[in-house]
Symmetry: C2
Subunit: 67 residues, 2 copies
């Protein structure tokens, strides 16, 4: 398992937290949003999930992920 | 049909808009959120829905409605 913390812009409420964590969960990874810190920390299996896939899943929910 | 505009605090994103408009729709009324204006304008049938019920439905979603 690896862990990465991504900066995410645009999360403003509990619904946003659910949307982002849900998108990460769908990939089989485990995300925890820090709303005040504008970030999400994701634990993932690098054999099955790429960081790019995680970023894309979050962006698909309508949020900007720092490159 | 009557129309009322309620001031609502705490709505911050598209998910909040969906939550509030969805709660109003469940009552059989028609709500339109103005996110920037921090308000929701609701068209409702006063024979079947009370303003109190509308306020309660929005508050149940976790938002403050001005009294």
């Amino acid at each position: 398992m690896k862990e990465i913390t991504l900066k995410v812009e645009g999360m403003s409420c509990g619904h946003c937290v659910s949307a982002v964590e849900g998108a990460v969960k769908k990939l089989g990874a485990d995300g925890k949003v820090d709303l005040a810190g504008k970030s999400v920390t994701v634990k993932y299996n690098e054999q099955t999930v790429s960081v790019d896939a995680i970023k894309t899943a979050i962006e698909d929910q309508g949020y900007d992920v720092a490159k």
